[in-house]
Each structure stands twice: as structure tokens, then as C-alpha cells.
């Protein structure tokens, strides 16, 4: 029996939103193929209730591989387990998130499975005549979209860009099976050890998972002016991003950098202020749902690709935007 699989992601026992996005993708493919959809959970302390949510949001089966030694992502152990599962169950398709762990785990496993792997896909479909997976992804800094097939090898593996699809609504009437896979010492690779996590609480941001990103560039002129962006992000319920120029000037930390040598994001809303829209910056934002540009140069490149462009001074526009949003919020309360 063929299968479509997704690899769930979690932190501290909670499943990440992208786990459900993957199921929405997987459900569509499984339905087209008429095969079951399974989610694989490799981790620790992911409760039965959490795993039931995977079923409620599209999975027919959940393979649960849990152990305290799997609490944090360590590529070698996770890869060993996923490879073993592939050998046992022979899935046709495996989808994982294009995140720091998914983009490490999948190529490591694909090599061992002699499988084709397509990176950072934004569209997936099934080719009607052959049943092959059609994988579409941006490449060359988002300048082209390539469609890729793996005709002669199984599984067909793909990483999927977070936020590029919406989770299915919860359906509590859905039935499914949770299969617990016992963990033995042979499945754990002890070479690498996780020492801990460091969060620069004041200056760390999870850009990839944010729905709204307010970004500033060289046009913001100094570090202090980023408070305008911080305030606006707070009002909108978003986070702050930046161009490389702003990061290189030390106005804000590297985790905020968007673009070719920074992060690739697909938020619902991206607002760029004082950012010219270089190809390298655009490479990181092209798949945003809505792009708003604030720049006093009418010919700025970002204006050209924006859904809404304001030709004006950021130091006038941003405070006014903040003021009107607050006003609106006040009215609503």
C-alpha cells in the first residue's frame, strides 16, 4: 500500500503550525492518489491529545517515535529513525517543512534512501497520467519557478516552505490510528550533543513564522529610528525585519535580516520602509502575500513590485500609520 507522509515539527511538546500546513498539502495529494496520509512524530513529550490533532487536521495515521533523547532535533538520530521507517513502510511521498531542521534532516535521509528531494517547494500536485509528484519551487533568488519530478525513485521527497499553505480546520469526527514505534538504543546516535539554547531575548525574532513583518532599511537612517518599526509591529501583531544594509550598520541583529544572505519569509503582510528593493532583498520576500512599500523615491524598486506603494517620507508615514491604527483600535474597543 502506498502512503503519503508528513514529518511533524514540535518544540517543548507542542506541535508547530507548519505540521498542520503540511497535512493540508498531504491530504490533497493523498486524496488525488487515493492513498492514506500519515504524520511522523519524532520527539519527546508530544501528548496523545496533540497527536489526535494531527488526525483531526487530516492524518489517517500517526507514527509516534518518542524518547527523552529525541527531545531536540539532532540530525543523525532523527535521520536514522526516518530512514528505518522508510525501509519498513515504503512511503511514496514524504513532505517536511523547509525549516532549519527539515532542510537538514531531509537531504541527510534522501542520500541514504537514494531518493530525489526538492527544496523549499511552494506548490505540489500530482501528475494525472503518471501519479508522479510535481514539485514547484523558486530558485535563483526567486527569479524563476522550477517544476521538478522524481520519476524513477521512491520515496519522492520535498521540503515545503512554511506559511505557503493553510492548515485544514479541525474535524473532531475524523478517525485515525496512532502507532507507537518503540525506541531502542540502536536508533539513537550519540555523537552530537545538544548543550542548550541561547535566546537573545531582547533581539531575537522568529521571522519565518510571523504573519506580519515590518522591515526597515538604510532609509531608516539610525538604530533609534527602528523604534518606529517596533511600535508599528507591536500594533499590527507582527515582528521587525531588516535589509542587510541595516544589519551591517549594527542597527539590528542578524536574525532579523531578510534576503539572499538572510531569511526567506512568506508572511501575510510585509511592510518595507526605507528599503530600495534590491534583488537580494526581494529574494527573501517574493512569496509574501501582500507587499507594502514606503519610500520617498518614486522609482524605488520595491514600489514596482509592491501591492501598495506609498511614495513618501518614512518618518512622516510610519508615525501617521501608527496614529491611525491606534485610533482605529480605540474605536473598536
Amino acid at each position: 500500500m502506498s502512503f503519503v507522509w508528513t514529518v511533524a515539527e514540535h518544540a517543548h511538546g507542542e506541535l508547530k503550525a507548519v505540521s498542520f500546513e503540511l497535512l493540508a498539502r498531504g491530504r490533497k495529494l493523498a486524496d488525488k492518489l487515493g492513498t492514506p496520509l500519515a504524520a511522523v512524530v519524532i520527539g519527546d513529550q508530544v501528548s496523545e491529545a496533540r497527536m489526535r490533532e494531527l488526525i483531526e487536521r487530516g492524518a489517517d495515521k500517526v507514527y509516534s517515535v518518542q524518547d527523552p533523547r529525541l527531545a531536540h532535533f539532532v540530525c543523525e538520530s532523527y535521520a536514522r529513525i526516518l530512514s528505518t521507517l522508510i525501509k519498513t513502510y515504503r512511503p511514496d511521498i514524504i513532505l517536511a517543512a523547509a525549516t532549519s531542521s527539515g532542510r537538514t534532516l531531509m537531504p541527510y535521509v534522501a542520500v541514504k534512501a537514494r531518493a530525489g528531494l526538492t527544496a523549499d517547494c511552494t506548490e505540489l500536485d500530482i501528475e494525472a497520467e503518471t501519479g508522479n509528484l510535481l514539485q514547484t519551487r523558486p530558485a535563483i533568488g526567486g527569479n524563476i519557478m522550477a517544476t521538478i519530478k522524481t520519476p524513477n525513485h521512491r520515496p519522492q521527497m520535498a521540503t515545503v516552505r512554511p506559511k505557503s499553505s493553510k492548515p485544514l480546520p479541525k474535524d473532531t469526527s475524523r478517525h485515525g490510528e496512532i502507532i507507537t514505534i518503540p525506541v531502542d538504543d540502536g536508533m539513537i546516535d550519540t555523537r552530537v550533543s545538544v548543550l542548550g539554547y541561547r535566546k537573545d531575548a531582547a533581539d531575537f525574532v522568529n521571522l519565518e513564522e510571523a504573519d506580519i513583518v515590518v522591515a526597515g532599511g538604510k532609509g531608516m537612517k539610525k538604530a533609534e529610528h527602528f523604534s518606529l518599526l517596533n511600535n508599528l509591529a507591536q500594533t499590527l501583531g507582527g515582528v521587525v525585519g531588516a535589509s542587510r544594509e541595516a544589519v551591517d550598520r549594527g542597527w539590528i541583529g542578524y536574525p532579523h535580516q531578510i534576503g539572499l544572505s538572510g531569511k526567506t519569509i512568506s508572511p501575510k503582510l510585509y511592510i518595507g520602509a526605507g528599503i530600495s528593493g534590491s534583488i537580494q532583498h526581494l529574494a527573501g520576500i517574493k512569496t509574501s502575500e501582500v507587499i507594502v512599500s514606503v519610500n520617498n523615491d518614486p522609482d524605488a524598486n520595491l514600489h514596482k513590485i509592491a501591492d501598495f506603494a506609498i511614495v513618501g517620507d518614512a518618518f512622516q508615514v510610519l508615525p501617521e500609520l501608527q496614529r491611525q491604527l491606534k485610533l482605529r483600535k480605540g474605536r473598536a474597543e
Partner: protein, 265 residues
Amino acid sequence: MRIIVPIKQVPETSNVKMDPVTGTVIRAGVETVVNPLDLYALEAALRLKAQHGGTVTAITMGPPPAIKALKEAVAMGCDDAVLVSDRKFGGSDTWATSYTLAQAVRKLGAYDLIIAGERATDGDTAQVGPGIASWLDIPIATYVARIGALAEGRLTLERLVEEGYQQLSVPLPALLTVVKEIAVPRLPTLRGKKAAKHCDIPVFSAENMGLDPSFLGLKGSPTKVVKIDAPKVTRGGKTVQAGDDEAVSAAVGQLIGFLEEKGLV
């Protein structure tokens, strides 16, 4: 400490052309550079060498003109370089590329560390680094932002992940991929340029590496690019002027209306 740095020659990002039939990059007539993200890998390697002693070897898989990228690496301070080149490698996907590069690393003999770039700016998959590690069965740490102490054959380092920095202790040999935060790349020196002029760059081929022909090039690659489209870039958006105070207020009002329409506020 012996460090190997795989680098890729890529077309300058601003003017890339694709062959719509084969789905491969047209290289003729396009200015090529060392993948900008590989410069961080070279810098990280050269700094480790300065700290702990040893050598840095740059290695690239590509057509003969890719020698230019290797010379640039030597000019930055690498001790030597290897070109992995053969007609048979043409059209390799990341599976076949990482196989070929891993075999080249094996042919080089003992090593302590492989440092790759985060991703190449053309293919953009970030899969070759982890792929090489998998072929060699060595531990991998991706998105490394800081390299700390080396003690008893283990490196402490920090990976930039979604939740913050993950701190790891990794035994050598291992493969790292690094992000821009790791260090500012140095420029080539005059002495380095001289060394580059005179250095001998051996060529590894399918034959002298004894590779499995069924694992090579287009034929050995599980993935096939079947279609290339240019995405629509412009969104036909709305432009409003905000020249004076009144216009600013009106423009912002319109923006909020637009965001409301989209359900974003």
C-alpha cells in the same frame, strides 16, 4: 587541523538565464563568481586554521573554467585546491553532486572538518552540505553562526534556528554549513594572488576517483527539472503619493482601507 571547503561557482545573481528546454543554467557569456555565501565558509575555515594550525583545501565540482573560483580561494589564503570535473558530472542534482563531492573528499584522505556554504545562490537548495555529510556518515551542523572552543576532538558551536541559537558539541570529523553571521570574509591578498597564479590544481575525474557510473550526472540524478517559468514579479499594485502632511494622512487612510479589505488589520 585539515579543513576542506566545498565552493561553487555561480552566475552573478543579477543576470541569470535558463535553458527552457533542459532546465539548466546557461553559463556561456555570463559573469561567474564564487557563491557569495561560500565566502563565509572560506573565512570560517581560514580563521580556524589561524587559531589551531593546519591547512585549508578548497574543492569545487564544475566545468574547467571553475578553476577561477578555486584560484580566488587560494588568493584568500587556502593552501591548495582541487577541481572535480568530468563531462559525466553534467546535470547532477544534489544527490549526485553530494555523492561526487563526498568521493572526492574520500580521495583527499584524512580530514577534520568540512565547511560548506549555507546554500548556493543559483540552485538554492541548501542540500549539498547535508548530502555530503550523509555520504561520509559524519555528523552535521547546519546554519552555524558561531564556532567556539575545540577540546578533546570536539567543537562547541551555535546554530541559528527558528527559536534562537542551538548550542551543540560536535565530534570531529564533522561537516558544518555556516551563515553570514559567522565572520566577515577577507579580501584576496597580493601574496595570495601570487600563490594562486602558481598553484597546481589537480583534477579529479570519474575515472581517477573510481566512481559508480550509475550515480553520476543527469542519469544518476533522481530529480528532473521538467519546467521553468518566470514568476510574475510585479503585482500591478497601487501607488499613492504622500508629499505633504495632508497627503500623508490621506495615503495612510487608503493603506488602512486596503489592509482592511485584505483582512490584515
